[in-house]
């Protein structure tokens, strides 16, 4: 599999999902349990991605400049600072720590 294959398959899958919502009669996902699982799936995947992106280095768990950067990011989101600013500050915190250690 090349990077292009991955991109094409994943794009086709997400686009097909979008179309299915508009074409398939509402039913299954309108029910309470599937709707709840679909909702929580997004939360679980994003939280897992945060963990891996913050602590993972290949198959190792590493605590480095990314951890304080994420803590700063969480504090800024709590203060309702806009997304782009937070992402930029998080990068700056990690880059700063790496530059001075």
């Amino acid at each position: 599999m090349t990077t292009w294959h991955i991109i094409l398959i994943a794009s086709a899958a997400t686009l097909a999902l979008k179309l299915s919502g508009h074409l398939v009669p509402a039913g299954f996902l309108e029910r309470e349990r599937p709707a709840r699982i679909a909702d929580l799936l997004t939360v679980a995947l994003l939280a897992a991605l945060i963990a891996v992106q913050t602590l993972g280095a290949g198959q190792q768990i590493v605590v480095d400049a990314r951890v304080p950067a994420l803590i700063v990011a969480a504090a800024l989101y709590a203060l309702r600072v806009p997304f782009v600013v937070v992402v930029f500050v998080a990068a700056a915190v990690a880059a700063g720590i790496r530059a001075f250690t």
Partner: protein, 262 residues
């Protein structure tokens, strides 16, 4: 939820006389406010395409692959996830990357079902909406266009809000993605610039608005723990998929479902 979409789908009452003039003025106001909401949310959202573009290039994609994702996939969560998994596991983690992106796209199915009666109501002459309109609506079905549409007070304003938000984000997101990819390409050593931390902060920004309920918070914490402890023992990419099981278990049995007391 079903009631909500039905009321949005129902055609407005057929008014005539003086009441009609007042209603028409209200309707114009409602549509103006939908346009304002659409631009405000759209522009704010489109700006962070810059971070996607830079992160995608940092993950090893070229500029065209990065732009292709924003044009065709066009759903931020899945795009960030795909490049995030590829950044940690490379092409070998391709299967996990596709699965993660697709699972994050499942919520768009729910949005599509909710938006269908709003944006594809039969035309005035009773004919069905054209297939091209349906495809365009599906393409633009994302968190923000759905949220703006659902926040409007009338059916027509909801429709306007959906199309304005979706279109503004589509144009803006693709331009900023290209710009971000150029910046990422110019940066070189992305870890020295803290782009790995920026990716984590980006995921946190996507997660943050979803943490209003205790149940969502519990799922987030548990999923993060599962992903962390399985990282040393599973292939890159798989820990995220295993952590998704937390959502299935908690969602199935409806655990932790009380509302926050605060």
């Amino acid at each position: 939820m079903a009631e909500e979409s039905e009321s949005l789908a129902a055609p407005g009452p057929d008014l005539s006389g003086p009441a009609a003039a007042a209603a028409a003025a209200d309707d114009v106001d409602a549509r103006r406010s939908a346009i304002r909401d659409g631009f405000a949310v759209g522009i704010a959202t489109a700006v962070y395409g810059i971070s996607f573009g830079a992160l995608a290039v940092a993950a090893g994609l070229d500029i065209w692959q990065t732009c292709f994702l924003s044009l065709v996939m066009f759903t931020g969560g899945s795009q960030f996830a795909l490049v995030g998994v590829l950044a940690s596991g490379g092409v070998a983690a391709g299967g996990s990357a596709i699965a993660t992106a697709a699972m994050l796209g499942i919520r768009n199915v729910v949005y599509g079902m909710r938006m269908k009666p709003v944006v594809e109501a039969p035309r005035a002459d009773g004919r069905r909406a054209s297939i091209w309109r349906t495809v365009a609506a599906a393409w633009l079905t994302i968190d923000e266009s759905t949220a703006v549409a659902l926040a409007q007070s009338t059916d027509r304003a909801a429709k306007v809000g959906f199309w304005v938000t979706g279109t503004v984000i589509f144009i803006g997101w693709n331009l900023t993605t290209f710009l971000g990819a150029l910046i990422g390409d110019a940066l070189g050593d992305t870890s020295a610039w803290g782009l790995d931390a920026a990716a984590a902060a980006a995921f946190l920004g996507l997660l943050w608005p979803r943490l209003k309920r205790v149940q969502a918070g519990a799922v987030a914490v548990a999923a993060a723990i599962v992903a962390t402890i399985t990282t040393p023992v599973l292939m890159p990419g798989l820990p995220v998929l295993v952590a998704a099981l937390v959502a299935v278990v908690v969602g199935w049995f409806d655990l932790f479902s009380r509302r926050p007391t605060a």
